[in-house]
């Protein structure tokens, strides 16, 4: 995991290295200053030597300024290194997610991916900054202070060694006990978030059923759990400060007592005693810092793991090397195709189907009958688990993936428009499309009419999720966007469900007139949308239940007949 993450430091290696170097300078000087202080007291003040006072005073000032400079430098490099590292991590994650196949995408939830790219990366960024600054600084301060203490007086320095060991054991003992409690706490936080989200999304239901009190009670239970787990952890963590004081005060008293003896025995000066007091503080502070870093790093391990998971996720569907660069025509063949997601049972079994180039295939089936899965195999959004799907006589797995998908346009059941102008959305289909071409496509999809009524026409801004256009308008825009690809094959997966029947008919009419050579596959729950197709496929539970023209199926297929009759008693509309 660590290696995967560190691979992304890249151009920020220099900053990552410079920061600890400057930190070291800063830390060494910080330790050196009290030492100078001792010299100043002993050689200057005690001997009444004003010259020495000025000399050591100036030296100390210089040291302070150099330390300030080094500290500022290291702070800057650390900030750049950690922000840059975070930037690269997000970049790498995003890039890899773009390589995900449909089945990879299915495996992660949107909110999960956002957490992995935002919160988790922020955690790593903070931990990284902490590590490159404090992880060098604290041990260095500790060691340097100890060395100085040893230089001053070996026997006195032994007190420090004992305290450091004691405090170290206690601090890390506390962390050892607390960190599993913290990881439990974080998973409870996820629960809390999920329940809040659920409540917000379902607020209409909550209010309709007057379940306010019920929801509040649920929430209180969850927040109570968090309160008690967190309390458990913090009650242990609380020992940090008093233990720290215990060591500090204990050391001061010991040093005072033993120091007095040493001074009387002429083994030590009073100036040196004063320096020892200063070192007490810096030694114990650095230990405290180290334990803090340790806590942070433990907390960020979970985040690191989650990021590495995304980075290491290999797409299970890749473009072949030297893939075929052209799609000759829009013929599609399914040869003994079976398909299942993950390790589940087959949801499509032994499908054989021939769709001639330029023909129209209609597909009808119940929800969960795998209609969408069937058509998603054509642009290779998923790979078959058995048999093969061929486009223009060639296995889809032999095509260059981009070439294949550029030639197979698909309007997904879950249509998405992106925030931006209508024009910009349309150019997803063809980045070089002229305004005329865009208008042409929108006319074909019966979208031009309502776009012309909008105040800014083709420059109208579409909100995220296309919330400022109606469902039917959104579907028509999505169809226009797909047509702009000038594909050999056009697949509409229940893409006109919100479009009224009349407009739906006009769109199909336009297909016949404007793009007669494009193979068209239309999935619909409306018989009227597909009854004119050259072939109609009735699919039930992953198997072909009927294949033929409208008239043939009315005679031979009970399900088709039943659906037709049910719908023939009334139309289906959403808007005029």
């Amino acid at each position: 995991m660590v290696k995967t993450l560190l691979n992304e430091v890249k151009e920020y290696k220099k900053d990552t290295l410079l920061s600890p170097i400057y930190v070291s300078i800063e830390a060494i000087l910080e330790v050196f200053i009290p030492f100078l202080m001792a010299l100043l007291v002993d050689n200057g003040i005690e001997k009444g030597n004003m010259g020495s006072i000025w000399f050591y005073g100036t030296l100390m000032l210089v040291a302070a300024f150099v330390s300030l400079w080094a500290g500022a430098k290291s702070g800057k490099h650390a900030a750049i290194a950690s922000s840059g590292f975070a930037k690269n991590l997000r970049k790498a994650e995003y890039r890899n997610i773009q390589n995900f196949s449909f089945s990879n995408i299915d495996a992660y939830s949107t909110s999960g991916l956002i957490t992995r790219m935002m919160t988790d990366v922020t955690n790593i960024q903070n931990a990284y900054q902490m590590i490159i600054r404090v992880c060098v600084r604290a041990p260095l301060m500790l060691i340097a202070s100890l060395i100085m203490a040893f230089i001053i007086n070996i026997r006195m320095a032994m007190i420090f060694v004992v305290t450091v060991l004691f405090l170290g054991v206690v601090l890390f003992g506390i962390i050892f006990i607390v960190s599993p409690i913290f990881s439990r706490l974080f998973s409870r936080y996820d629960f809390l978030n999920a329940s809040i989200q659920e409540n917000i999304l379902g607020i209409r239901v909550v209010k309709s059923f007057v379940r306010k009190d019920h929801e509040i009670e649920k929430f209180r239970n969850e927040s109570e759990t968090i309160f008690s787990i967190q309390g458990k952890a913090e009650k242990i963590l609380v020992f940090n400060s008093p233990v720290m004081q215990l060591c500090m005060y204990g050391t001061i008293i010991l040093i005072s007592w033993l120091g007095a003896h040493q001074i009387v025995a002429q083994n030590m000066t009073t100036g040196e005693l004063m320096s020892l007091f200063t070192y007490t503080a810096s030694i114990l502070m650095s230990l405290m810092m180290m334990s803090m870093v340790f806590v942070m790093v433990t907390m960020s391990i979970a985040s690191g793991k989650r990021i590495a998971e995304v980075l290491n996720q290999e797409s299970d569907l890749t473009s072949p090397e030297n893939g075929v660069q052209t799609v000759a025509n829009g013929t599609i063949d399914f040869e003994d195709v079976s398909f299942h997601y993950g390790n589940d049972e087959d949801i499509l079994s032994h499908i054989d189907l021939h769709i001639p180039s330029g023909s129209t295939l209609g597909i009808l089936g119940t929800t969960g009958s795998s209609k969408s899965s069937l058509v998603q195999l054509i642009p290779r959004l998923y790979d078959v688990t058995q048999g093969s799907v061929k486009v223009a006589g060639m296995d889809v797995r032999d095509y260059d993936l981009k070439v294949l998908r550029d030639n197979v346009a698909m309007v997904l059941q879950k249509n998405v428009l992106f925030s931006g102008k209508i024009k910009e959305n349309m150019r997803w289909g063809n980045p070089n499309a002229t305004d005329e071409e865009i208008m042409e496509a929108c006319k074909l999809a019966q979208a031009d009419e309502f776009i012309q009524l909008m105040p800014n026409k083709y420059d109208t801004y579409i909100e995220q999720d296309g919330t400022n256009v109606s469902g039917g308008q959104r579907q028509r825009l999505c169809i226009a966007r797909a047509i702009l690809k000038s594909p050999k094959i056009l697949i509409l997966d229940d893409s006109t469900s919100a479009v009224d029947t009349k407009t739906d008919a006009l769109i199909r009419q336009a297909f016949l007139e404007k793009i007669p050579h494009t193979t068209r596959i239309i999935i619909s729950q409306r018989v009227s949308s597909i009854q004119d197709a050259d072939q109609i496929l009735v699919i039930d539970d992953g198997k072909i239940s009927g294949l033929g023209t409208h008239e043939e199926l009315l005679k031979s297929n009970a399900m088709y007949k039943e659906t037709f009759e049910a719908q023939n008693n009334g139309g289906d509309f959403d808007e005029q």
């Binding site: 449909f102 309160f227 007592w257």
Partner: protein, 607 residues
Amino acid sequence: MNNRDTNSLKRVIKETITSYKIESFIVLVLIIVSSIANVYGSMFLKSLIDDYIVPLLSQTVPNYTPLFNALMELVMIYGVGILATYGFNRIMVTISLGTLKHIRDELFEHMQTLPLCFFDTHAHGDIMSVYTNDTDTLRQLISQSIPQVIVSLMTIISVTISMFILNVPLAVLTIACGLLMVYTSKKISAKSGKYFIAQQKQLGVENGFIEEMMEGSKVIKVFTHEEQSIKDFDQVNDALFEASANANTFANVLMPVVMNIGYISYVLVAVVGSIFALNHIAGLTLGGIAAFLQLNRSFTNPIGQISMQLNAVIMADAGAKRIYEIIDMESEVDDGIVTLEQIDHDHWAWHHPRKDGQDELVPLRGDVRFENVNFSYNPDKQILFDVSLFAKPGQKIAFVGATGAGKTTITNLINRFYDIQSGSITYDGIDVKLIKKADLRKSLGIVLQDTNLFTGTIMDNIRYGRLDASDEECIAASKLSNAHEFIKHLEHGYDTMIHAGGESLSQGQRQLLSIARAAVANPPVLILDEATSSIDTHTERIVQEGMDKLMEGRTVFVIAHRLSTIQNSDAIMVLEQGHIIERGNHEDLLKQKGKYYQLYTGAFELD
């Protein structure tokens, strides 16, 4: 809360102190004790050299007893100090976690009372982040920053006093340096604060970008748009890096600057102090300088500590603002006086207290009337114009029209998710404004296109309709709505856990559950908003059967875009841009040859 403009931080602190009066007082006392112990230690060092060590040097046989006694005294004082430190830290845990829990609970409870327009007009991700990111900033503030600042302030005060007792000129010098530290850290943290705000904003932007792209990731694949989306992402991501690097640079620079000003102050005091001592000015001794230098460190350290907390304080202030923004929002007003009373198992009545003291019981029948209703969500766009309609008990009323014609709005008005601007809506002859909202809504069952199932078992979800329903009643309801069929085929049946809104179920199955949920509530009036739209025709027949049984004997408002669902309605309202343009039953409307006729026959135009 009449003073909304006051600093949100002050409010957090004030609320914390008022709910933990005794605890806060004890904490304050303990902090003072702990600080005094600390300062006493520094003061002792003065006497250590001058009063104990220097005399020892002049004795031929050193007598350590006075030193021993003094140290014992110090041990005791330090002991008290350590206990006080533990005490206030421990109480602080109770206070900080308790306050956090309290704020979260209050936030959630208040949110439950907010009108629907709050949820309709705020991004969900944004509300969520108030519970997580914003409350987290308060945790940092209460559990770390506030105690740290109090400790530091106490130390500064007691050290200042001690310094003035010891030596006035050196005290003034130290304080001058202290002021310089405060000034510098203010300057720097203002800079970093600016960039931190930019960073938070940029985080929001990037969050939104990723959300949109992840939601549309399948479309990106279908359009092989990966490279373009990476390019767009890099732009957003680079902007975040800029803000983040700048913010952290200033935050990181703060500590070394403040610390080293502290050192400079130390050196100044040492030099000036030495000059004083050597020239016997202001009665300063060698031990005096040593002790003073110790005080100097004790003075500058807490200033550094406080400035370290500045960023946390800035963030917490922003967080608190967002929290109180929600807590201060006006709750849904409910001045209803009419309540619902159960007469016997199947019969309910409205309890209507009259002004003359005579209470009236009106049987609950499900008679809903709109008279000249006008409505708009916001003043500049009226949604409904002069809508009048009536639904007699047991009637089925359907609404037909384009998206945005006002169909859903009408149902939002019946259960008072929104209030009308003019006209009146009555329920069994009572103005809905007089009915307590909870009771009004209890009498209305609702099935929406978005099913909104909750984490829990299938049984829990059905029981959501009526919490005291027995298992048998829930199963009966699911049999009625034809949900039983698929539930019994699930591995764990009614105990199957539902996560994330029921991802493991098909849309149709989820819809069946939401119908069962409404069935178990057994309300006299039902609102079905596109309840069957995502079910295919075949499954719909199964659902329809159950729905027909459910609708029997109830007043039903139905919105659907499938004619088969609505053509047996008692009345069909055709809506266009907020006006009812046609009304009548299926046959009447076909005869009128108006809009409904056009819509209905639209399906056959190509034939």
